[in-house]
Symmetry: C2
Subunit: 199 residues, 2 copies
């Protein structure tokens, strides 16, 4: 399945935005650092979001080889198997998915493809130090340099990942105090705030 | 389980926004009118979106009694069973969920609760006649009258439902032509555009 990833990397450049769904390192409910399991519905939803908002690559980050293998089998089904003819829109979105072992690999692949290290923008459900507003980060991610937006699974990206990022986006909030959104919903809201066209 | 629904209806009023996830009438892939199956992950995601954006009720619309029964069992698990102590944030969001047989019943329950028929705003993934912009619909839904926002499952709300609504929101678009989003992602984006606080 390396061929699929190489295939993606050889595609004409359609943008400079990349997203990553991070399964390690993230917290569990007790704030221990874990590697979470892949969720196929998250992969489909974020792949379709990547298509919609013009992200040229969607990295699935997991260091677990059995999980990576599962992801590759899923991609194969959608790109070459029965899924590719059943639902072409979905198959199309899956072409942007790349499996990567860790965030370092993701950054290196973006460097390889674009010639530059990406500006890394982390997202977080909670308040905390160093959060940046959408008004500040929006112009940065739209100026055409390579950008990598990180979404955490489980109970969120670890403090180390947040601290190493160039920006940490302020949490998505509505008019209430509640902000326990699924990563599927939150990723859509974040990408729409950064790249959506109000109409 | 009627008690749960009545319980919800007797709660203090926290807003005038209601959302509905419609399983009938919707189209299937061949544009036939069907009743789609419930998806538990959609229920969780939209319940959490309802909490985040201050919707006081989230109606699950299905005419199929076995599906309604399934939904009630799921609610019972989260509201009274093991789920209620395992994950309180999730349980809290499930308190807003009400099972309804059809859209007429939804509108009647809102009338009963608020004393007014809601302004009905349908959403659609496709372009078509009569679409309204977010600039037009935003002020309408924020002026405090009861509002019901409809989200379709499967291949979307039928033309009849769209035509009977007061407004049809223009489809969510990013900078690309692709707009095949999951209802989980799309509902988040729509609610954030209407009620989110830019920060």
């Amino acid at each position: 399945m390396t061929s699929l990833n190489e295939n993606l990397m050889a595609e004409p450049e359609t943008g400079r935005v990349f997203i990553a769904l991070v399964h390690y390192p993230v917290y569990n409910k007790r704030r221990e650092v874990i590697a979470s399991a892949l969720t196929t519905i998250d992969i489909h939803d974020l792949a379709r979001l990547a298509m919609t908002y013009g992200a040229e690559g969607f990295f699935l980050v997991t260091p677990l080889e059995d999980q990576a293998e599962l992801a590759r089998k899923m991609l194969e089904h959608w790109l070459e198997g029965w899924g590719s003819s059943y639902n072409n829109d979905r198959a199309e979105s899956m072409r942007r998915v790349v499996v990567a072992g860790d965030l370092k690999e993701v950054e290196e692949r973006i460097l390889e493809k674009t010639g530059r290290r990406p500006v890394v923008v982390a997202t977080a459900a909670g308040d905390g130090p160093g959060r940046s507003s959408y008004f500040d980060v929006g112009p940065v991610v739209r100026r055409g340099e390579p950008v990598l937006i990180l979404f955490g699974t489980a109970w969120g990206l670890t403090r180390e990942v947040l601290e190493k990022s160039d920006y940490i986006l302020a949490p998505v909030k509505g008019p209430t105090g509640y902000n326990h959104l699924s990563v599927r919903s939150a990723a859509g809201i974040v990408l729409d705030r950064l790249f959506g066209e109000r109409n």
